[in-house]
């Protein structure tokens, strides 16, 4: 019979808390975030040459090929290192990343 109590209730809660804290740290504490309206405006400005940035779709290639935000390039999270050349050499260029969205 399979052992059910590998992760206990309090253990699972703690794990979830850490996962949520971890995500929050990436998305809120360490990096600025932008809204849909801001991104839309920035893409319009980029189209008219008034702004320059790289928009990275970090989803799997299968998902990207199905649907993506116009003007974004695909660098799947799982292949970030091997496709890093797509980021260019300008380390000060603004890079905006996105994936599927809130969970």
């Amino acid at each position: 019979m399979m052992e059910r109590k590998v992760v206990t209730g309090s253990g699972a809660a703690l794990l979830l808390f850490i996962m949520l804290l971890h995500n929050a740290a990436w998305g809120i504490e360490r990096f600025d975030t932008i809204t849909t309206a801001q991104l839309h405006e920035m893409l319009n400005l980029r189209s008219s040459g008034e702004s320059d940035f790289l928009l990275i779709n970090a989803l799997d290639e299968i998902i990207y090929r199905d649907e993506f935000i116009p003007g974004s390039i695909n660098i799947p999270l799982s292949k970030a290192s091997e496709r890093s050349s797509a980021l260019g050499n300008d380390k000060n260029r603004l890079i905006i990343t996105y994936c599927m969205g809130y969970r």
Binding site: M1, M2, E3, R4, K5, V6, V7, T8, G9, A12, L15, L16, M19, H22, W26, G27, R30, F31, D32, T33, I34, T35, T36, L39, H40, L55, I56, N57, L59, D60, E61, I62, I63, Y64, R65, D66, E67, F68, I69, P70, P76, L77, S78, K79, A80, S84, L87, K91, N92, R93, L94, I95, I96, T97, Y98, C99, M100, G101, Y102, R103
Partner: protein, 167 residues
Amino acid sequence: MAVVIKALGFNKIKIYNGGLKDWLNSGLPTEAIAPLADYEARFVSAEELYAYVLHAEENGCVQVDGKVAFTLLDIRTEPDIESDSNSAVITNPCETVTGILDDLQDESFRQKIPKDTPVFVITETGNRDVFAIRYLHTFGYSNIKGLKFGLRGWLMANLPTSFNNNK
């Protein structure tokens, strides 16, 4: 992803947290290269999957005709890339195939996934299951379901996990 890019030396990084979901919900246009055919993905709850696993285990993980009872298709990405810690996996005494979503494009990887017995997709939150299901459906898979809320749903239901260094 931002963490990875920062580690590569880039200084100005922002995150569009709303992602593709918010973009679509705002009615803004998208583009496609190879859109997947429509197919209604079905999901099981963590409790339903657990009951399935227990039942299969009691029967030696095989069906009456000798075929494998079911397969878990674990295509979580984040634990591998963004954390050095061991990642939790659903405790499964039966068959688990592990990879990433894009591995499904590889025929030799797909051959590991039985076509004629149930397959359950495992992702971090259940967000990406539908893409795996729609993609595999184009290769004749119809007995495949997602796990509602992914591994997170499994953890929230306090169901058994193990730790796998190799995931």
